[in-house]
């Protein structure tokens, strides 16, 4: 069969031009969604556990302003460092041990330990929900407050209680977190731990320990 490269090239150019124009039109149209802000380079560096990349960013833009830059949900890089969502305990512990060094670096570089996002969450609340024991301990050691509550009335203690995080509940109680804080639904940390027990019966032993600590 005789090959006609000219026709193939011609068709290719037409189709690619049409496709590209289509993409450009869509891109322009969707700009109005205003969600087109790239991931913070610091968050990307911590996702990839690249301290060199972080140092390069900080060297380029020194000072706490860069470190406390918020995303559209009001979250700082320190909050993202204190957040992880793994079901597997081993993966969570591995992430915790990596993130604790990041928390130290970010805090020593000027990150605000008590910054709040649009819902009123602090880095400590993210770490408490995530079940990252080492990160919670490090944040508290560095001076993060244990008392703030979000707009629903949740505190770091009540989040840890609901998630059945024995070590974190113990630490926060020792550090003076109040057991009597009440959410807008009228629930204390103890009530939330009991809710957790009902919802996750397979983790009864952990929740029972949390309940005991909160009694």
């Amino acid at each position: 069969m005789k090959i006609n490269y000219r026709v193939i090239l011609q068709d290719g150019l037409v189709l690619i031009t049409v496709s590209t124009l289509f993409v450009v039109a869509l891109s322009t149209g969707f700009k109005s969604f205003k969600k087109d802000v790239d991931l913070d380079a610091i968050v990307l560096a911590l996702n990839q556990d690249s301290k060199d990349e972080f140092n390069a960013i900080v060297a380029k833009e020194p000072g706490p302003e860069r470190l406390n830059r918020k995303d559209e949900f009001g979250r700082t890089p320190l909050m993202m460092a204190a957040y992880a969502n793994y079901k597997d305990l081993k993966q969570r512990e591995e992430m915790d041990s990596k993130r604790v060094s990041w928390i130290e670096i970010l805090a020593s570089s000027g990150a605000d330990l008590n910054a709040v996002d649009k819902d009123g969450w602090t880095p400590l609340m993210f770490a408490a929900w995530s079940g990252m024991n080492l990160s919670v301990a490090k944040l508290v050691e560095l001076g993060a407050s244990v008392t703030p509550a979000d707009r629903q009335g949740n505190t770091a203690l009540s989040l840890a209680a609901f998630r059945g995080q024995v070590g974190i509940v113990k630490l926060l109680v020792e550090k003076g977190a109040t057991k009597d804080a009440v959410t807008v639904k009228g629930k204390k940390a103890l009530d939330l731990a009991q809710d957790g027990l009902k919802q996750y019966p397979e983790r009864a032993s952990e929740y029972s320990q949390v309940v005991e600590l909160l009694l």
């Binding site: 969707f30 793994y86 807008v184």
Partner: protein
């Protein structure tokens, strides 16, 4: 049921006479599909977590990738007939070899903006390679089968594609992500694709191109260029009705593209970062394989148009599982927590949707074939890819924007703590998709007299059952 399974597999006996080349082409198809499906499962996650794209840009670039595949397929078309199979395989695999390696190791060498531009160029290169592969494999099958075993050969092709999609999900995607974690796992999956491209090249090397079947002949219609076809048929009434029909299917087609555009981020954000997303994405091709074997003979007893409508309606309605407030699902006996509620919603949607797809996709191909004038079936068939051509990039941007608003990284703690109202929740995102998808069956049902005019006349000339590949099929 046992009879249906026995009938399906007994048909494969005819392949005893198939040549070594036929099986090599199938091996290439298997290796390439393993690489493609495992890569597409994590591409949007890779672009965000490994490269730093925001949700909208990552969705857009997955959309652009799939759009360019379709465009390049139109452009290169039957190039394998012209330059030869081996050469075509080497070209396609060459692009995939470079691009998959580039995506897999790029983040180790580049950073920041340079990395982003590098990845964009690799994605375009990869779309060119992927576009090469799909028509070359089908051309290879055509050339290395005889009139007697061609239909069975193509059934094997679809079976292998779906089996590869299953393995790519639970074995490759979940295997690497569970072993190396999500960030390194994504890179390993792309590197795995690079290794698969080497295996494909080796398989292509052993092909003996002169061993083609002598009765193999391409119809002139099939050889025509797509733009030429379009110029020829756009004024025909049957084609205009088909275009109207295709346009009306767009809503439900958006849902068909969600599996790789929206689902991976949705799963890992409302559940856990280590959720077995590959397993979830394996359910669709599994249901399709079972359906192909057991249900297709039953479906053949019903009218094509009705089955298509039911298929679209079921596909759209499947979204309701994920669109209703999660508190409603928590009321179902046996579901005690949010994790279980989301898992129930996700698995129910995937299963019901796959059933709808099973009804819709083969009938859609059949419908296109029977509304086309007899001498232009191939032309109409080649243009029937139009809805996916449009739906993929639209949903790339739309999905990205919706994920950024309703299923962003870090949403799960906020769901647990009561900070997310229904209007801000992932469920609301699915409600938007549900309404968009519902437009298709309703509009087609409302306009059935216009659309169905040609079809009613031709229903008696019903084409034979058509196999169906999983909707993440590159083409």
């Amino acid at each position: 049921m046992i009879k249906a399974v026995t009938n399906y597999f007994s048909e494969f006996k005819v392949l005893k006479t198939a040549s070594k080349e036929f099986w090599l082409v199938n091996a290439i198809n298997f290796f390439d599909c393993l690489a493609y499906f495992s890569m597409i499962n994590v591409l949007s996650l890779y672009l965000t977590s490994n490269i730093g794209f925001n949700d909208m840009s990552s969705g857009a670039w997955v959309g652009i990738y799939t759009l360019y595949i379709t465009a390049f397929i139109f452009a290169v078309g039957s190039i394998a007939d012209s330059i030869g199979l081996k050469k075509s395989f080497y070209i396609g695999m060459g692009f995939l070899f470079v691009s998959r390696l580039g995506l897999g190791v790029g983040p180790l060498f580049f950073k920041g903006e340079i990395l982003k531009y590098f990845v964009m160029s690799m994605i375009i290169l990869m779309s060119f390679g992927t576009a090469f592969m799909s028509p070359i494999v089908t051309t290879g099958l055509r050339k290395f089968t005889t009139k007697e075993n061609r239909s069975t050969g193509f059934n094997i092709y679809y079976l292998i594609m779906n089996v590869a999609a299953i393995f790519a999900g639970f074995a490759v995607t979940d295997g690497f992500r569970n072993w190396l974690g999500d960030i390194k796992g994504n890179l390993a999956i792309l590197d795995f694709g690079f290794v698969m491209s080497i295996l494909c090249m080796l398989s292509a090397y052993w092909l003996n191109e002169s061993n083609i079947n002598p009765d193999e002949k391409v119809s002139e219609d099939a050889e025509k260029r797509p733009l030429k076809i379009f110029k020829e048929v756009w004024k025909e009434s049957a084609f205009q009705k088909l275009v109207l029909f295709l346009f009306l299917t767009l809503g439900v087609r958006l849902v068909f593209t969600n599996q790789f555009l929206v689902m991976p981020k949705y799963y890992t954000r409302v559940l856990f970062a280590d959720f077995d997303l590959g397993f979830a994405n394996s359910i669709n091709p599994f249901v399709i394989i079972v359906g192909l074997i057991v249900l297709i003979p039953v479906f053949n007893k019903f009218k094509t148009f009705s089955l298509m409508l039911w298929g679209m309606a079921i596909s759209a309605l499947s979204l309701l599982f994920m669109a209703v407030p999660i508190e409603w699902i928590l009321k179902i006996p046996g579901i005690t927590n949010v994790d279980q509620a989301y898992l129930f919603a996700i698995y129910a949607q995937i299963t019901v949707f796959a059933f709808g797809e099973l009804l819709f996709s083969p009938r859609f191909t059949e419908y296109t074939a029977i509304v086309a004038p007899k001498d232009k079936v191939a032309s109409y068939m080649s243009l029937s890819a139009l809805p996916m051509f449009i739906a993929k990039p639209i949903n790339g941007f739309l999905g990205g924007a919706l994920v950024a608003s309703f299923s962003y990284e870090g949403i799960r703690p906020k769901i647990d703590s009561g900070n997310i109202s229904y209007g801000d929740s992932p469920e609301f995102m699915w409600l938007i998709y549900f309404l968009a998808a519902l437009v298709s069956p309703l509009a087609i049902w409302g306009m059935k007299k216009i659309i169905n005019a040609e079809h009613a006349r031709l229903e008696t000339e019903k084409a034979s059952a058509v196999a169906v590949a999983t909707e993440a099929d590159p083409a």
